[in-house]
């Protein structure tokens, strides 16, 4: 069954931010936080970041890469890319419908 980012409860948004960040290339935790703040304008705390990361890893949407550094990099998996695409398409449709209603109001 395909995993959905929106199934992660209060971690849905942080998980979406992480997937968007990793879609731009592999990153470790601190780089993800910086990237998310720059791209999404959201500031994730360390507890939230790792709460979402653990859920994404458990569902096979991201995977850790081996590293000699203590800072372990992560990358998005094929399932993660598919889930991200699905979620962004939903948001795109939602945004288009909302903007359309605003235009005709």
């Amino acid at each position: 069954m395909e995993e959905k980012v929106s199934d992660l409860g209060r971690f849905s948004d942080p998980a979406l931010f992480i997937l968007v960040s990793l879609a731009g290339g592999e990153k470790h935790g601190y780089a993800m936080m910086e990237d998310i703040e720059a791209v999404c304008g959201a500031r994730l705390g360390p507890g939230t970041l790792y709460g979402a990361l653990a859920r994404l890893e458990k569902r096979g949407l991201v995977e850790p890469l081996s590293s000699d550094d203590r800072r372990k990099p992560y990358r998005i998996t094929a399932a993660g890319s598919s889930a991200l695409e699905g979620r962004l398409t939903e948001i795109e449709g939602f945004a288009r419908a909302g903007l359309g209603r605003l235009a005709t109001a």
Binding site: G45, P46, A54, K58, R70
Partner: protein, 305 residues
């Protein structure tokens, strides 16, 4: 400076084993803030309430328990088979067969032993074959040969045992002359057959256990296998109980036969019966305990959030 290690201690052990190093590295890279402290405290609370790492480990542990339970039932069944062969060897003597024909209790108890043994065999096959198929399929998908080779040990052991019995019966005995039951040659040959049989039984159970432990078999297959395992344990209870009834009925109905020396290799009948009973009873207790433990583990996996 972050008291990073101290903060990470708020998280569960399983979480720390997986994420501690990188989490501490992250905390050391940024200045402390009250927002972060509160976020870490809430993250730790979430890790305790909805464990992502611990849950997986717990489920794996429970699957491991189900697997061990199924394997223990296999070992217990081997124990009952070994004892049952001893019982069969003793009762093939004509006086016992006659007692079974003449007395309904002895006859019914003997029949119950046979039916229980067949039922246990069928249950072991029904529960074990899906596990064996899953193990072989997984091994072949990974290009591994160890698991299929290990699963070849039971049929090869059986073939080796049958071959040895034929060799002794058709070749060795006619040459050396196995005339009297308690002759040294006869005792040695009988003990060698018993030794080969036990070696084959232990090698078979051990090879299956190693093969299954090396394989990734799904929890649903183990959960299914627990029901035939339960049936096998029930059949072992029937076999053990029937063996008790058989001995007690023989004691009452044919005391001379029961207290005589018609056991294996013309030893005491009572002693042979008691040894058979001890092995059967012990194995049956192990099987019942293993099934109860396995079913509890299966229920825990089902009810995990």
């Amino acid at each position: 400076m972050w008291p990073a290690r101290r903060l990470v201690r708020l998280y569960p052990r399983a979480w720390r084993e997986r994420y501690e190093e990188e989490f501490v590295a992250l905390l050391e890279e940024r200045p402390a803030s009250l927002f972060d402290l509160q976020d870490i405290a809430l993250g730790a609370l979430d890790a305790w309430l909805r464990p992502q790492v611990a849950l997986e480990r717990r489920v794996r542990g429970m699957i491991g328990r189900m697997r061990n339970s199924v394997l223990l039932v296999l070992w217990a069944w081997v124990g009952v088979v070994v004892a049952g062969v001893g019982f069969q060897k003793m009762t093939e003597y004509e006086d016992f067969a006659r007692a079974a024909r003449q007395n309904i209790t002895i006859g019914a108890a003997f029949d119950a032993v046979v039916v229980g043994a067949l039922l246990a065999l069928a249950a072991v096959l029904v529960g074990g074959l899906p596990i064996a198929f899953a193990a072989v399929r997984g091994a072949l998908a990974e290009g591994r040969k160890d698991v299929p080779l290990l699963l070849c040990v039971p049929p090869l052991s059986l073939a080796a045992f049958v071959g040895y019995v034929l060799l002794v019966g058709k070749v060795v005995c006619p040459v050396v002359g196995c005339t009297t039951v308690q002759s040294l040659v006869n005792v040695v040959l009988f003990l060698s057959i018993a030794g080969v049989f036990m070696l084959a039984a232990v090698a078979s159970a051990a090879s299956v256990s190693v093969a299954v432990r090396r394989s990734e078999v799904g929890e649903n297959i183990y959960r299914f296998a627990l029901y035939p395992a339960g049936l096998a344990a029930l059949a072992m209870v029937v076999v053990s109980t029937a063996t008790v009834v058989w001995g007690l009925a023989l004691w009452v109905q044919a005391p001379a036969l029961f207290t005589g020396d018609d056991g294996i290799l013309a030893t005491s009948t009572v002693a042979t019966w008691l040894v058979v009973l001890a092995v059967m009873g012990g194995s049956t207790c192990v099987a019942v305990a293993a099934v109860v433990r396995g079913l509890r583990a299966g229920r825990t996996v089902e009810t995990s959030p």
